[in-house]
């Protein structure tokens, strides 16, 4: 009897099966492109760098990181495109820190790139050493490590609005052969958000948060531009994605960021941003 009981316990431990209920997939519908794109001069295209800062409003060391990012942004100009992603334990909401800066996509990215703590950055989604997340002290090195001579594509962005919807019209022009399938990711960020932040001097209720990720237009890791994800050199691809505008966002402070991702390595091939 004891042997049989033990056997039943073992069976219970082994009873491991995930049953998934539908719907199983999510579609990301495109919209009609309704923008005129300027004629592109490939000689004036340069590779920009996506800088994803993982932060949180109760992260006491993060204000120092924000200052450091501001210095780097000033030094690199529009070559550096920062996004501030609030995710993890330091981004939780409370009575003292009521603004929810998190997004489902930001949390998924934090999980995917194994962000160990805050402040951390992922630079162009390239490995720095053996991991993606770069500590503050290595941010300049990680930016310098990006090969800016590789200019594979150009991205043009034209935002349009109708009723309460914001549309991102995007044109991707392929300048060099890209041997891997790619996906395009389009996000909305907002500057100048006044909201509490934990600092070494205490809670600052008038802290200015910049580059905050507010929404993603087309899925956590973007969408394909072609059926199989491969792009052809000297070809252009136009797409448009729409999201619902939220009244708490301030239009004058918002920008759209679009970046092209190599799906084999996760590396960002090109990034572009434009203010609304």
């Amino acid at each position: 009897m004891k042997k049989l009981s033990l056997f039943c316990i073992i069976i219970a431990c082994f009873w491991a099966c995930d049953t998934i209920e539908g719907p199983y997939y999510q579609a990301i519908p495109t919209d009609i492109v309704e923008a005129e794109f300027e004629t592109l001069d490939p000689s004036k295209v340069y590779r920009k760098i996506l800088f994803e800062e993982y932060t949180g409003h109760i992260c006491v060391n993060c204000p120092e990181a924000h200052e450091r990012l501001a210095e780097l942004h000033h030094a690199w100009g529009d070559t550096l495109v920062p996004i501030a992603i609030h995710a993890g334990a330091y981004a939780t909401v409370s009575a003292m820190y009521p603004e929810d800066f998190t997004t489902p996509e930001g949390k998924e990215w934090a999980n995917y790139f194994n962000i160990s703590s805050n402040p951390r950055a992922v630079v162009n989604r390239q490995l720095y050493g053996t991991s993606y997340d770069v500590p503050l002290i290595n941010w300049p090195n990680a930016i310098n490590a990006v090969d800016r001579s590789y200019i594979a594509a150009a991205i043009q962005l034209v935002p349009t609005e109708r009723y309460n919807k914001l549309k991102a019209n995007v044109k991707v022009s392929v300048l060099e052969n890209i041997s891997a399938p790619v996906q395009l990711s389009i996000v909305l960020i907002e500057d100048n958000i006044i909201s509490p932040q934990s600092t070494p001097a205490g809670r600052d209720t008038t802290y200015v948060h910049n580059h905050v990720l507010r929404a993603v237009f087309n899925g956590t890791f973007g969408t394909r531009l072609t059926e199989d994800g491969y792009l052809v050199k000297d070809e252009s691809y136009e797409v448009a994605y729409t999201l619902d505008w939220k009244n708490k966002w301030v239009k004058e402070n918002c920008s759209i960021v679009a970046f092209l991702i190599n799906k084999e390595t996760d590396e960002v091939i090109q990034v572009e941003h434009t203010k609304l």
Partner: protein, 578 residues
């Protein structure tokens, strides 16, 4: 166990053999109260290019597969290891990714009347293999052993329990610390004849068994694809949270026997398992097999039925090549032939969709009769037919223009689909005329769907005739002539094959043979694939040399196949067991 410890263990074992071995070609070697046994194989080839047959230039010219197995047994305790050197393997193994070297198999095992425990790598099968078959086949380059733990117990007489827990081997990737997939399984079988003496004494054999296997694989990536509703192209993805990480297969089986009758049946069901081989659908998988046989003196009758639907079950969902990381096994129930000319049209079992049956009658015309002759005449009649399963595409999949991310399809259980995969009707007659002469004649009519089974070509309709004549010249010398003919208007056309084999028992074997594609639609490709071979056998050691051409084709064993590239050159094979 660290890599250096493993190597040390292996070298120590070899050293013990060297110290204690006097006659390595004799049977097992005694060491103290225990015994060391093992086997060794070297299969090498010197390659020459031949553009006509498609034999590529091999830059290193010489390649070889080699391995050494050693085992030490002392009472109920056994330890063993195998070292494989496939760093520069035969080209057909390189093409399937079986390349590397290292200690691929190592274990310690203890067994008594109640329990058997194994730590390390092991092979195991539950029932027919529908839920779990961890096995190796050296010729096919398949080795999906489990690295982990196994427990077998016999708590009561006639009750057999097994439990396994481990990581499946992935060729020569030893980076187990970073693996995100592993397998666990349980199997139980009750043999009523062993349990209840009254049943055993009555001549009835009856056993009932059940298996439960679950794989875990971390899901971290979304799966992206495109859908085409109303001819629009829309991106879509399956979020990683919608990809099941724990996927279970359960199976139940029954075996009955009484006197000459045998009945065995097994059914398996696999939970939703979206993977690369089924285009990421969420339909459950099913497999069913039933076989009945009757045998008495001079007569045997057998019939089997099999159906498998979405049963490709792998340790990693992204893998769909060959049998790599395959957890389970769906057997082929058709008659297996060793005929050279039928090797290209050998039926491979399709776990994701097949339904078919096989029937066979063996009859021995009695000896000392007019028709049966002095020694009797064996006649075998066989017939089998396999179709794809019938599929009714899921409504969402119809709209999307792809089955990805949907239930895929539904399939009425016993309905045969329209596509014929394989059909074989054959007769074989074997007769021994006197002490010297024996003749085997065979004829088969085949249908083989090249498109669905190999990805190219038509439905092949072929006639195959075989002739095998053996003459025992005296007690030691024998001469055998084998010839075959394949007639078909499809694929590469007609073939003829002849082989002469001379053996001087028990040591020497010589053969010369040729396969001629005389009916190839392209006259320039009506080539000869000749082969000359010699073998020497001494005790448990066999050394073979062969020279000739091998045509591009398939090698199938037990319904599992792999591609064989064309080759030309000199081969050496050494095998020994001790």
């Amino acid at each position: 166990m660290t890599k250096s410890a493993k190597n040390l263990f292996f070298l120590a074992t070899v050293f013990i053999i060297a110290l204690t071995s006097i006659q390595p070609l004799s049977a097992q070697i005694k060491v103290g109260d225990g015994v060391i046994s093992g086997d060794f194989s070297l299969n090498g080839m010197f390659y020459r290019p031949d553009s006509l047959i498609g034999a590529e230039e091999v830059d290193s010219k010489v390649r070889a597969n080699s391995w050494l197995n050693l085992q030490y047994t002392n009472s109920g305790f056994t330890v063993g290891a195998r070292y494989e050197f496939y760093s520069f393997p035969l080209i057909d193994f390189e093409k399937i990714g079986y390349k590397g070297q290292g200690l691929t198999y190592y274990f310690a095992d203890y067994k008594n009347d109640f329990i058997q425990v194994t730590a390390g790598t092991f092979y195991e099968q539950f029932g027919q293999g529908f839920a779990l078959r961890a096995y190796e086949d050296r010729q096919l380059g398949i080795d999906n052993s489990l690295l982990g733990m196994r427990v077998k117990a016999t708590p009561y007489k006639g009750v057999y329990l097994k439990g396994v827990w481990g990581i499946m081997r992935n060729n020569f990737d030893f980076n187990y610390a970073n693996r995100k997939d592993y397998i666990r399984g349980l199997d139980a079988e009750i043999a009523l004849a062993d349990m209840i003496p009254a049943i055993g004494n009555s001549g009835v054999t009856a056993s009932l068994g059940g298996s439960f296997v679950s794989k875990f694989e971390q899901s971290i990536d979304d799966i992206y694809f495109t859908i085409f509703p109303d001819s629009n192209m829309i991106s879509a993805f399956i979020p990683s949270k919608n990809i099941p990480q724990n996927i279970a297969t359960w199976a139940t089986r029954l075996n009955l026997g009484y006197k000459g009758f045998r009945l065995e049946a097994e059914y398996a069901n696999k939970a939703n398992d979206p993977n690369n081989s089924n285009n990421y659908i969420y339909k459950n998988g099913e497999a069913f097999f039933i076989s009945g046989t009757y045998s008495m003196k001079g007569l045997g009758v057998a019939a089997s039925f099999i159906r498998s639907d979405n049963m490709d079950y792998r340790s990693q969902r992204a893998i769909s090549t060959n049998s790599l990381l395959g957890i389970n096994y769906i057997p082929a129930i058709n008659r297996q032939y060793s005929y050279q000319l039928l090797s290209d049209y050998a039926y491979a079992s399709l776990p994701n969709g097949q339904i078919g049956f096989q029937a066979q009658i063996n009859y021995l015309i009695p000896k000392k009769t007019k028709i049966g002759g002095k020694y009797g005449t064996d006649i075998t009649l066989s017939y089998c037919r396999f179709h794809d399963i019938d599929r009714v595409i899921d409504a969402t999949a119809e709209i999307n223009g792809t089955i990805m991310g949907t239930l895929g399809y539904s399939s009425p259980f016993f309905k045969f689909g329209e596509d014929l995969l394989y059909q074989d009707a054959g007769i074989e007659i074997s007769r021994k005329f006197d002490k010297r002469w024996k003749l085997v004649l065979s004829y088969n009519y085949l249908n083989y769907n090249l498109e669905l089974l190999q990805g190219h070509g038509d439905l092949v309709k072929a006639h195959h005739a075989g002739f095998d004549l053996t003459c025992k010249i005296n007690k030691k010398h024998a001469l055998r002539l084998e010839s075959q003919y394949l007639f078909t208007k499809q694929d590469k056309g007609n073939y003829a094959y002849a082989m002469l084999e001379y053996s001087i028992s028990p040591r020497w074997f010589f053969s010369i043979g040729d396969q001629w594609n005389y009916g190839n639609p392209n006259p320039e490709m009506r080539l000869h694939y000749y082969n000359v071979a010699a073998s020497f056998v001494y005790g448990t050691t066999r050394i073979s040399l062969n020279f000739g051409k091998v045509k591009e084709g398939m090698l199938c064993i037990g319904g599992v196949c792999r591609a064989v590239p064309a080759s030309y050159g000199l081969g050496l094979n050494i095998m020994t067991t001790f």
